[in-house]
């Protein structure tokens, strides 16, 4: 059989090449850091943890094959995999078939209600719930939404509308932009003529980040931008020259700059381990704490057996994450995150405004309760809210 198949094995499938390498590499690195730390401290239940960490190359077909390999050949106990929602959906049929414990750590559109899946990232509603009310309060209620033209972007656009209405704001116009677009002249023109109080940006990926440079050169920096995608994922504020991200406000559960002692120690450990690392993005932190969360659940259960571990995860378990102490919501398998509004000034210095603890409210509303019913669904807001 495979080497070390008697001890626990964790699969970490994160991209280190092609499209998602920028966001996948930090996820891979914090996962390695967590597992190495755990092994140094005596492993889980006294056993050293083996790692299966291939490079899926941002390729969904490869993800599917590698997930099968992790299940059949490596006999892994749990899996951390994938940046994009498409990847999650590509491997979820296989995960479901084998009832594998799966931690998906990217911030995402929300709504996944699945017995063996634990989405550790903040949902669109959690992130937008932090930033949209703040922006309406600070700047006024007229919103212009620009978002990437795919599932995450479209659903995020819906959430902006719902949350804006709840807080007395209004979306004056919205525009969905293909992921391959790099020239934003016409979009910027339309924003200028609509002259909203602020823009909500759910642009995604390295092609879209060109928007910020073009925004600066078009004199659009006088209109502030709220976002759930930029800065905390692809660290645009470090990759792009200031002041292109002046007055960009991101709703986040974590950014590397978070000024707490616990986080600063974490950041130091990370850069000691990976001295050429570029950033710790939100999902990298999520990988890190969720591996510790898994360890805690296994040790409480006293076994690596999936059902027992899930039962412990569903017991209101808490973890000391770099972002703060946070709790896993048993019914929805999502985290109740400590949310912040991160603000970038004209030198791209980041400051934080506390937005409190925000839970996965939407799944609670639709009645997702995995402790009593083992579903494998993804809910969408369109079916539950009028007029979107």
């Amino acid at each position: 059989m495979q080497s070390g198949s008697d001890g626990p094995t964790l699969a970490v499938l994160e991209d280190r090449s092609q499209d998602f390498a920028l966001t996948g590499t930090p996820k891979y690195r914090t996962s390695m850091l967590a597992i190495e730390e755990i092994n140094r401290d005596g492993g889980i239940l006294g056993e050293e943890v083996d790692i299966f960490a291939p490079d899926p190359q941002s390729d969904n077909m490869l993800y599917q094959d590698l997930t099968r390999h992790a299940i059949y050949r490596e006999d892994v106990d749990a899996i951390w995999a994938g940046y994009s929602s498409a990847t999650r959906e590509a491997i979820r049929p296989i995960i479901n078939e084998h009832e594998l414990l799966y931690f998906y750590t990217t911030q995402y559109e929300g709504g996944v209600c699945d017995k063996t899946v634990f989405p550790m990232g903040a949902t669109a509603r959690q992130q937008l719930g932090a930033v949209v009310p703040y922006m309406i309060e600070e700047y006024g209620g007229e919103i212009y939404t620009i978002a990437a033209d795919y599932n995450f972007g479209q659903l995020s656009g819906d959430w902006v509308q719902i949350i804006a209405e709840e807080h007395g704001g209004e979306v004056v116009d919205e525009e969905y932009i293909p992921l391959s677009e790099s020239q934003f002249g016409s979009t910027i023109n339309r924003i200028q003529s609509a002259d909203p109080d602020f823009v909500m940006s759910m642009l995604v990926g390295q092609t879209h980040s060109a928007f910020y440079e073009q925004r600066l050169a078009s004199g659009l920096t006088d209109i502030p931008i709220g976002t759930s995608t930029n800065m905390a994922q692809e660290y645009e504020h470090l990759r792009i020259d200031p002041p292109a991200l002046e007055d960009v406000y991101a709703g986040v559960n974590y950014m590397q700059e978070l000024p707490t002692d616990r986080n600063e120690a974490f950041v130091e450990r990370y850069y000691n381990r990976w001295d050429d690392a570029e950033y710790i993005n939100q999902e990298a932190q999520n990988n890190y704490f969720s591996i510790y969360l898994y360890k805690e659940a296994v040790e409480r259960a006293g076994t690596f057996e999936t059902d027992a571990v899930i039962a412990e995860l569903e017991s209101g378990i808490e973890v000391e994450a770099p972002e703060g102490d946070i709790t896993l919501d048993p019914e929805t398998h999502h985290m109740e995150h400590n949310m912040h509004v991160a603000h970038s000034d004209e030198t791209h210095e980041i400051t934080f405004e506390d937005a409190g603890t925000i839970g996965p409210a939407f799944l609670e509303e639709v009645g997702c309760d995995l402790t009593s019913e083992a579903e494998q669904t993804q809910y969408e807001p369109g079916a539950y809210y009028e007029g979107i």
Binding site: S17, Q18, D19, A21, L22, T25, D149, E175, Y176, I177, P178, S180, E181, S182, Q183, G185, S186, T187, I188, N189, R190, Q192, Q206, T207, S209, A210, E213, Q214, L216, A217, S218, G219, L220, Y235, E236, L238, R239, I240, D241, A244, D276, E278
Partner: protein, 294 residues
């Protein structure tokens, strides 16, 4: 009001037109003149962008940094031509697979060498009044037309141009006339590479630079080359003008970038169907027919 709207529209057209021309021109020279389908075209652009951004970060003024980008890409193209590409002349489809392989290798090598992101360069020249857009786009537009004009002059009016064209049309005869065809291939490929490097340099401030940077140019470039047809320079100009207008009009009327993009791709499909030899091939046929009828 209507005046401003028209100006805005013109400015949007200029942006997309310049982008297509500059994305295409290097590929058009290499494909149109040498019959090499360079799927690594985007990565040639990548070399230009990386060289520019690192030269700029090292303290060179932007124009010099851009020049560095152009020169380094030309040198890079030259080396690649000697090592690999020269074995592929006359093997159109093989050239596609080989350059695809080169593209995979280069993206990953750049990632290994320089990490997942490169330092940014701000867009120079600030903002234009009235249209509220980057003044730099005017520069790009002028340079796009300038590059085409320069190439036209080079290939039509200089001794080098005549010899290069002779080589591409009939290498055998050209060689018997005493032209060093090997050198002609080499220099034409270097020119194509330099043009790609120029594009990379010019767009380094406009787009954020990552190892995937070059892939953002590929679709527009290939579509425009094919729509343009056999005559490289006029073809690039006409195809960019046509595809750029389709994109700008549809984006503007529907207020949707998605529809603009799809309309442009569909327009390309229809054009190829109606004019299988591209716009310039079609014009050539029309001209001949007209000549016969006279």
């Amino acid at each position: 009001m209507a005046g401003v709207g028209l100006l805005n529209f013109g400015f949007e057209f200029l942006e997309i037109f310049a982008f297509i021309v500059l994305a295409t021109v290097g590929l058009a020279v290499i494909f149109g003149m040498m019959g090499i389908i360079n799927l690594a075209h985007g990565e040639f652009i990548l070399v230009g962008a990386y060289a520019t951004t690192f030269a700029f970060a090292a303290g060179l003024p932007l124009p010099l940094a851009m020049l560095t980008g152009v020169v380094l890409t030309a040198v890079f193209g030259l080396v690649l031509e000697r090592l690999i590409i020269r074995h592929l002349y006359g093997r159109l489809l093989d050239s596609m697979v080989v350059t695809w392989g080169i593209s995979l290798v280069m993206i990953q090598l750049v990632r290994i060498a320089f990490g997942n992101a490169a330092p940014g360069i701000g867009i120079p020249f600030g903002e234009l009044p009235v249209v509220d857009g980057p003044a730099y786009y005017l520069v790009l537009g002028v340079l796009a037309v300038g590059v085409l004009g320069g190439l036209y002059a080079l290939f039509m009016w200089t001794d080098f141009g005549v010899r290069a064209r002779a080589t591409m049309q009939d290498a055998e005869t050209a060689r018997s006339m005493g032209i060093d065809t090997d050198r002609m291939y080499m220099s034409t490929f270097a020119i194509g590479s330099a043009l790609a490097g120029f594009t990379g340099a010019l767009y380094a401030p406009v787009m954020t630079i990552t190892p995937q940077y070059g892939t953002g140019f590929l679709v527009e470039a290939f579509v425009a080359v094919v729509v343009g047809g056999s005559s490289v320079i006029v073809g690039t100009l006409l195809a960019s003008g046509f595809l750029g207008s389709v994109n700008a009009v549809f984006t503007n009327v529907t207020e949707s970038t998605f529809i603009g993009l799809v309309a442009m791709l569909l327009a390309a499909i229809v054009t190829i169907r109606l004019m299988p030899d591209g716009i310039t091939g079609f014009l050539e046929t029309v001209r001949q027919r007209w000549g016969e009828n006279r």
